[in-house]
Symmetry: C2
Subunit: 189 residues, 2 copies
């Protein structure tokens, strides 16, 4: 049998660890593919939507992730109504597709404000926009980014399921569930 380049992919515990190692790396390394996952959510009329987000926190022990967003964005409105999100990352170097299913909570107010305070000087311009993101404008640049703590929201994702697919000499796919205390199961790829 062809030797595998990524031996961790052949062991459920190591594969699970690898997913979190890469998520955590995305928080601090702008060039890691896990820095910019694709987030999918459902609109009020039941349709899926997907967009790039920036991963801001990843905690293996709590199984949670955080993304910063604009309180006025459709993401926030839709996730308040249907609090389920999926995150997707293709990590080419690891030949690893990470798919997460999560429940979503929106944090605003004092809790978020403390984090906002820490962000000042970083990239606060991405929170606060006039008109709100997604509104029609007559010309392409008829908008202003206005740092506004009241627009700052944290999207906290509580991961429920991890589906990891490794494309090696032999493909391997596993699923890890919060309800099973993250015990893994192999799946047919």
């Amino acid at each position: 049998m062809t030797p595998e380049v990524h031996p961790w992919a052949a062991d459920l515990t190591e594969l699970h660890m690898q997913v979190w190692t890469r998520l955590v790396r995305g928080v601090r390394d702008r060039r890691a593919p896990t820095r910019h996952p694709t987030l999918a959510k459902v609109t009020p009329d039941g349709k899926p939507q997907a967009r790039t987000v920036v991963l801001r926190a990843a905690n293996k022990s709590s199984g949670t992730l955080e993304i910063y967003t604009d309180l006025q964005s459709s993401k926030v409105a839709d996730l308040r109504r249907t609090p389920f999100a999926a995150l997707h990352v293709w990590d080419a170097a690891a030949r690893l597709q990470i798919r997460l299913e999560a429940t979503a909570a929106i944090l605003t107010g004092p809790g978020a404000a403390a984090i906002w305070a820490g962000l000042l000087g970083a990239s606060p311009q991405s929170h606060g926009s006039l008109p709100a993101p997604g509104q029609s404008i007559a010309q392409a640049l008829d908008y202003a980014k206005q740092p506004n703590p009241a627009s700052f929201a944290i999207l906290r994702l509580k991961v429920q399921t991890i589906d990891a697919l490794h494309l090696g000499a032999h493909h391997r796919r596993a699923r890890f569930d919060r309800d099973a205390r993250w015990a893994g199961t192999w799946l047919a790829p």
Copy 2:
């Protein structure tokens, strides 16, 4: 004002054209980012899911895309029930996020068989799997890929909305709707 590296992003018609040029490129160029979009769909219990797919056809005049899939996959079952899909691509070289919303149809039988015949010798092994994709297995390699024309399905996506976001010296975002004959509207990013 800083000159833009991608002047096409400042014109609605050119931006729309650019989206399709890049989608079409993904069909024939394995290394184009549009080769592997992320597809999002909704499960029967109303939750979003996302995975990588391979773009197999893109037609600007009909506004349609095609993806090949395994008839036994959960993608097919879920899209038959909730025939809406979203596609997402981040094209780093173009600094362009492409977001598509589409209605989905599953093609099987004789129509698909003709395409299957053309695929033989290409990568038919990705269609037909025992057990079906996503089924639990005891060990990682307890599965067999068995080329099977009866498992081959085409997912045809009829694009309804295109949301294009260009990250330049100034960010620009536009939306194009089938119902408006693809006339574009600028949106606040």
